[in-house]
Symmetry: C4
Subunit: 213 residues, 4 copies
Amino acid sequence: MAGAKSDHALERLVFFSDAVFAIAITLLVIEIHVPHLEPGESDRAFLIALVELIPNFVGYAVSFGVIAAFWAGHHRAFCLAGRFDGRVVFWNFLLLAAIAFMPFVTAFMSAHPGVRVPALVYWGWLLLTALINLRVNAMATGPRMLGDGVAAEEAAAVPRRSRSVALAAATALVVAMFAPIFSPLGMATVPLWRRLLDRMSAPARIEAEAKAG
Amino acid sequence: MAGAKSDHALERLVFFSDAVFAIAITLLVIEIHVPHLEPGESDRAFLIALVELIPNFVGYAVSFGVIAAFWAGHHRAFCLAGRFDGRVVFWNFLLLAAIAFMPFVTAFMSAHPGVRVPALVYWGWLLLTALINLRVNAMATGPRMLGDGVAAEEAAAVPRRSRSVALAAATALVVAMFAPIFSPLGMATVPLWRRLLDRMSAPARIEAEAKAG
Amino acid sequence: MAGAKSDHALERLVFFSDAVFAIAITLLVIEIHVPHLEPGESDRAFLIALVELIPNFVGYAVSFGVIAAFWAGHHRAFCLAGRFDGRVVFWNFLLLAAIAFMPFVTAFMSAHPGVRVPALVYWGWLLLTALINLRVNAMATGPRMLGDGVAAEEAAAVPRRSRSVALAAATALVVAMFAPIFSPLGMATVPLWRRLLDRMSAPARIEAEAKAG
Amino acid sequence: MAGAKSDHALERLVFFSDAVFAIAITLLVIEIHVPHLEPGESDRAFLIALVELIPNFVGYAVSFGVIAAFWAGHHRAFCLAGRFDGRVVFWNFLLLAAIAFMPFVTAFMSAHPGVRVPALVYWGWLLLTALINLRVNAMATGPRMLGDGVAAEEAAAVPRRSRSVALAAATALVVAMFAPIFSPLGMATVPLWRRLLDRMSAPARIEAEAKAG
């Protein structure tokens, strides 16, 4: 397929992915069950009912942030892609299946705050999703799909970012093994990993820029 | 990023936002649980069951209207935007997270009509959403993103409208403190606030128009 | 607003409406609760459990058909529209609120097959939706929004179709009053009403064509 | 309708279909209920709770794959279509109704692993969906809708693929009759059926290519 038709195929794939990301992110709230109290209950009883839902609110916020981050990465990668390649469809669907499953692992962890197995399931699933995401983004910015006139450095930055999310998920997974309640803090290491990866790739980058210049 | 690519990034952001708005607004109905009566029950029993759901119907109508108003504001603001700016992504996601959470606060208030804490949570959440919305709309119509050839006055009207929604939410929040059952009436002050803000900005506007003319 | 900007505003409104239609139509299935039987139950017990769900399956089919018909009408009307008019936004949102509420009235009727009040609520709601739909479609094909070069006859056919849906809903509502179980058959009168309306408008049409010719 | 207008009608139909596919595929996860255990339970109890959900996970994976396959076929067929034909709307809606119903049959089978009736319902529904899909894809790549300049061979490959999905669903249906637990393996025959159909159509194809050359 060439030209307009290839563009259209790529566009429809991106559109379908956007829809799945949007639905998964909005369904997260469905798993938070509204507490039902008797009409005569005191303000304090209502506040306590809300406090008991804090793990659910944290789960909502973390998963919303994570899916948003995956969407932003997908967005960046496919903005650089200029050609459709049939092979990306399978991996993209695997990514969407992983994303669409997030409401389940989120609800499982939120229902059992500080318990090891649900935390391991959540962070393990996130690590798996991050690895699939890494593959999809590498394909979208790879030689078969990259748009004409995109700088090599710009294309290389996308998988580097995806890699930092995978490393942060792995960190959270390790923390979950020993202190499940603190595992969400593992996601706070994303910027650390990104800086480290940027520094490690710097010599190669400078070399590449020197060649390109 | 420039030209077509920037347009595409902006378009995909708008599309994703539209999808989240659409899903959140349609999920509101899910939280209204269908009453189940025995087959032999009288018409009156069915009518009573419906009457008992009135707080849920009111909650559906109010939240539908509120999300629709936020969508309309977002629509107006991004219609005027002509360039993509990476910084808007974060704030836009914060707005979407607030919107996607609306079905929860709606169901919490509807399940406890006239109770103070759920009403405060609802209107407090709405005020927070309105403030984030104000920020997003100001960015979309600000110097970094505003499209070429858009009149300054047209751009300035968008945040003014957003401000009137925030002020109405604050009014409802105050009413909820003393008379939770009447708090939805706070939203009826939107046109009052808008007229007030229009009048207050009039001198500045006339001056700006005089300069532009 | 003129030209490209007006097109964009119209496009985004249509897109948002499509999304709400699509979500409402797909959420219908959520209200059908899966029966849970013991592992050792006979094939017959499973078949009986399915037979008991027939009212839910009928409700799903009828509401799917109805929302699809509304979507098709909306699709036809906005295909002919060529300009955006701010006034349509309010009525379009009212239509979307009515459509998004369909899963509730469907589930309420399905849970109580052959009972008068739920049937009256369902068909009354449908009639209301059909009337709002009539208004929206008349606006989209009216003088303020109609695209250039669209034949008057083509534009007039759209509200005529919408009118036949409203009449069929009214028929079903009357049937529901006396024999709720047969009320879905009221929808089968759509083609009858359409033919009647076509015949009644024929003289006016011929006259109009004679003038235009 | 001609030109730009026909394109727009086709585009909106495709868009609406994509949205329904995306929502149905993402709603699958909603039917998996999160197990709730007491805070003090052992890791082993949590693992057992997850093991008991394996039929649900398998159901999620199978239905996700099946809907993804239908979407990919729809995508390929409508990429080749170049003109809108009103008749496809009805059949396309029938397909969407079948797809949107998948979460129900999936949950019914997952709740009763290895039981005959739910397995027959699932595979019977899938066969029906595959047959409707065959009709829709044949219409989209048929003489009324096929885009200009599309090779006959490329157009013929689309219904051939759809046919192999229908044959695999029929295989699974037969297996479900005798050994429900192994019925998902029937889907593994898709590649076998596709190769067989390719081989059977080869002589006709070579002839067609000889003529075209």
